[in-house]
């Protein structure tokens, strides 16, 4: 097996232009392993890409077979322990549904009919189409959607080509509103990994953030440390989440009314003078207007909106104040809920400001990083036209590109046409709201290239599908992290790819060669690139390869450790009152607007994470699928009884626009409010190649046909869809 695949690998490489032999691309250990039947256990340190947290781990290969992946104790993010998805990473290597060869479409778009071709043919085809688009519409007419660390390699070739439109779902569909809300308030982002000092918090407030189901590793570890240390946990969630089960207070809020709760909390804290007066006086700007503004929002006012008893609002506000400044109101991460998300996030930022937690232990630290120089590439050509995702700064506070903006431009052809999409490691049909719009946009394209590891839904629409090696089989860009402890970590191959898959850097470089962009590639193998950067930082490359991680010296991360209390806002202070917002015609202090009620008799569709799955990418992983084969629809037990539904019954969900979901089982439970239902995101796959996952569970994305756009920054709020439940037949096999 080992031999065979390597021989094929060699043949293909020999056939491709300009490539050094494959064997030379493999690290020594791998090469030795491939050469003879490997015996015993060897380990390789690398970092995880099952999500974007990038935990360091150590992969074990036993008798030549990938065995297990464990946390790297030297790594400050994993702290020696991975989350279930990281532990299950080896399943991605073994998944039988993997993409194996480059594919070129033969049938109609979306029909998932391809022929397998060589890399040379596939990349030749892509290069030719790109040249044509460039000639007719300019290089800017090729846009890229991307996610994860691998994007840097592909962005490099496209930037060298003159492209300028790049966007990931991590902004407009994820943390964008939060980063904007915090920027407007403190002048800085929360970042990823978040700069939250959960482990030292004495009081932790989670608004939706469902840590424990959201498995961002360090946060979960710190969360359980905080629970173990007896910190007070307050959870605001319409659902009794895992985190709620650890909480002293669970506030089962009416969905979409969090800003009312925040205002009431701030009312209590301000009127009862429970805030950090010195901190506010020293760092705050516009506090008087703010204090006057919140007078109106009594807990009694908030009660009918939120459904939270006034006394409970008061008790929790006082509890927060009691522990300040080690009171952390978590900023959340996926915050695209109702359309007022940046303002709600600003509300969270302001509550933190009242607690004085920004820059303080148990609150927010100031991340530190190591100084690693960029690779000295030649300068990119200047794009002929500006980015088009946010024309005329329609969303004035968007500081990253908007995926949905590129989609809109592709549809309208304005301000200029988009004719080619590169999609790298993002399943747009599950990630962007309103699938139909994405498909419409795809129909306008001359070229859709998808780089993926499995035949995902988006790959199903591609003209060319390029199979990437999974992250345990490849090198990648260096991880220079901003974190509590500065460090650099490396990704390196543990095992050879089982079929004809290639790493992103190889794909990018080969494409560059075909586009005549060799001069942007002074290196032939990514190890040269990595070594250049690492040694440029004065670090030992061999040591990094051996350990996987090099930690820098601990730097001050809190104000009282010597971090200057600087707030890069217009006023240089924490903006309780935002003149920027006022200038752009927005509320300078967040204003609450009640959420739209849904059609009578329907339930608001909420969604979130399950600890063992990442979005729509892990359902074909045999190890992780074993833990949760399909999602269920959470329905309040009383509501279920009213509908005549029992736990375990099969239903389909129909949304307000008539879209019908795949069948899914009912979880009739006390753990959710009666006005909403809940799905774990990522299920209900429709791509035929995902045999293990096909048709299992219901897709939240499929039901999210409506979305509200955040006027400040263009984020797409998705919790604005409503569903009814219809009985369905049980599947045959069950």
């Amino acid at each position: 097996m080992e031999r065979l695949s390597r021989r094929r690998f060699l043949k293909i490489s020999a056939a491709t232009f300009g490539a050094a032999t494959a064997a030379a691309h493999l690290p020594d250990a791998l090469r030795a392993a491939a050469a003879q039947g490997e015996k015993g256990v060897r380990t390789v340190a690398t970092f995880c890409e099952m999500c974007f947290w990038r935990c360091g781990g150590i992969a074990h290969v036993r008798d030549g077979k990938l065995w297990k992946f464990e946390g790297n104790p030297k790594d400050p993010q994993s702290r020696g322990r991975l989350c279930p998805r990281g532990t299950g990473a080896v399943g991605a290597y073994y998944a039988r549904d993997r993409l194996q060869k480059p594919l070129v479409r033969v049938g109609a778009r979306g029909k998932e009919q391809w022929k397998a071709v060589t890399w040379d043919e596939a990349l030749g085809y892509v290069a030719e189409r790109m040249q044509k688009i460039k000639a007719e519409h300019g290089a800017e007419a090729i846009a890229m959607f991307n996610h994860g660390i691998g994007v840097r390699m592909l962005q490099h070739v496209l930037k060298s080509y003159g492209c300028t439109n790049f966007a990931g779902p991590s902004f407009a569909q994820c943390r964008g509103p939060r980063d904007v809300g915090f920027r407007l308030t403190f002048g800085e982002d929360v970042g990823s990994p978040e700069r939250t000092d959960i482990e030292n918090a004495r009081c932790l407030v989670l608004i939706g953030s469902h840590l424990g189901e959201n498995m961002h590793n360090t946060q979960v570890q710190e969360f359980s440390d905080a629970v173990g240390a007896g910190a007070t946990v307050i959870v605001v969630d319409p659902r009794f989440s895992v985190a709620a089960s650890k909480a002293k207070y669970w506030l089962p809020i009416r969905p979409g009314t969090d800003l009312a709760l925040l205002l009431a909390w701030m009312h209590v804290i301000v009127t009862e003078k429970l805030y950090d007066a010195d901190y506010v006086a020293q760092h705050g700007y516009g506090f008087e207007q703010f204090a006057a503004y919140v007078q109106a929002f009594t807990p009694e006012w908030a009660y009918p909106e939120t459904g939270i008893e006034p006394e409970l609002i008061r008790a929790t506000a006082r509890e927060m104040a009691q522990h300040r400044p080690a009171t952390l109101i978590h900023p959340g991460r996926h915050v695209n809920w109702y359309g007022d998300d940046a303002q709600r996030s600003r509300g969270i930022a302001l509550l933190n400001a009242l607690m004085g937690s920004w820059g303080r232990k148990g609150g927010f630290f100031t991340p530190a990083s190591m100084d690693v120089p960029d690779y000295p590439y030649p300068a990119y050509p200047k794009p002929a036209r500006p980015k088009l995702d946010n024309p005329d700064k329609k969303y004035p506070f968007a500081h990253e590109a908007l995926t949905t903006g590129i989609r809109e431009a592709t549809l309208s052809g304005k301000p200029y046409p988009i004719k080619g999409w590169f999609v790298y490691a993002t399943n747009l049909l599950h990630a962007l709201p309103n699938e139909a719009e994405t498909i419409e946009a795809i129909r306008k394209l001359d070229l859709l290239v998808v780089v993926d590891v499995i035949p995902s839904e988006i790959a199903g629409w591609a003209d060319v599908v390029l199979p990437e090696s999974t992250y345990l089989e490849r090198h990648d860009e260096l991880n220079v992290e901003f974190f509590k402890h500065p460090f650099v970590s490396i990704r390196q191959p543990v095992i050879e790819s089982p079929h004809d898959q290639k790493p992103n850097w190889w794909i990018a470089r080969e494409l560059a060669v075909r586009l005549g962009l060799e001069r942007y590639y002074p290196w032939k193998h990514i190890e040269e690139y990595l070594e250049n950067r690492v040694t440029g930082a004065g670090l030992d490359f061999a040591q990094l390869k051996k350990q996987g991680v090099i930690r820098g010296a601990r730097q001050p991360v809190f104000f009282d450790e010597g971090v200057p209390a600087e707030f890069p806002t217009p006023s240089g202070k924490i903006e309780f009152y935002s003149t920027q917002l006022q200038e752009h015609g927005f509320d300078p202090i967040p204003r609450y607007t009640p959420p739209d009620p849904g059609p009578a008799g329907s339930f608001r569709l909420l969604y979130g994470r399950a600890p063992m799955h990442s979005f729509s990418r892990t359902q074909t992983n045999p190890l992780l699928a074993d833990l949760m084969r399909e999602n269920v629809v959470w329905l309040n037990a009383v509501a279920a009884r009213r509908l005549g539904l029992k736990h375990g019954d099969w239903v389909r969900l129909r949304n307000q626009d008539g879209v019908l979901s795949n069948r899914v089982q009912v979880k009739a439970t006390e753990r959710i409010r009666p006005d909403c239902v809940y799905l774990v995101h990522g299920f209900g796959h429709t791509a035929k190649g995902l045999r293990r996952a096909l048709g299992r569970g219901a897709s939240d994305a499929g039901l999210i046909t409506r979305y509200k756009v955040d006027p400040l920054m263009g984020g797409t709020a998705m919790s604005v869809n409503f569903v009814t439940l219809e009985p369905a037949d049980a599947p045959q096999e069950a």
Partner: protein, 179 residues
């Protein structure tokens, strides 16, 4: 004598199932099977709820009915730490032990013999922790000698409220849950 056991802090456990995946990769548990699993027990009515999340597996009972009923001696108590094991070459697959275990901790391996948690005795004998314990991101699992009053597990049991599963079944389980 040593008596291996686990003490699991239900306050810290988030039910992420990392312990389950780790067991699967460490022990090559076949697809579709697991040696450990998560149980969530929710009590109360909306909105006054309590939930206990537990990671469960064979309790390596002190009075193991699965061993008593085994006609071949395949199910046995290991000399080290009282761990309950199955010798696959002695098991005929009669499933009496499956029926005898009140925790449903055993299963028939696709190859025909009965399989279950071994407390990762192969790791423990090398001085390592069981795989599930060693990966748990919340550090909620503790493994050690219940007979040694100075061990971490004994000290936890001495200092915190705890319960075991189905004590009324009379099996004397060796896994405890801190509450």
């Amino acid at each position: 004598m040593s008596r291996y056991g686990m003490v699991i802090d239900t306050h810290r456990c988030v039910g992420c199932m990392d312990c389950v995946v780790a067991c699967k990769t460490e022990n090559h548990v076949p697809e579709g099977y697991c040696r450990d699993w998560i149980t969530e027990v929710t009590r109360g009515e909306f909105p006054t709820l309590r939930m206990e999340i537990r990671t469960e597996r064979c309790n390596h009972c002190d009075n193991p009915p699965c061993v008593h009923c085994c006609p071949t001696g395949a199910s046995h108590v290991h000399e080290r730490g009282g761990v309950v094991l199955v010798t696959k070459e002695e098991c005929i697959g009669c499933k009496a032990c499956l029926a005898a275990c009140p925790y449903d901790a055993r299963f028939v391996h696709p190859e025909g013999y009965v399989d279950k948690c071994t407390f990762c005795i192969h790791r423990v004998e090398q001085g390592l922790l069981p795989a599930c314990v060693s990966v748990c991101p919340t550090h909620c699992m503790h493994f050690g000698d219940l007979d040694d009053p100075l061990s971490e597990v004994s000290r936890l049991l001495a200092s915190r409220a705890h319960h075991a599963l189905l004590p009324e079944a009379g099996t004397k389980p060796c896994i405890y849950y801190l509450t």
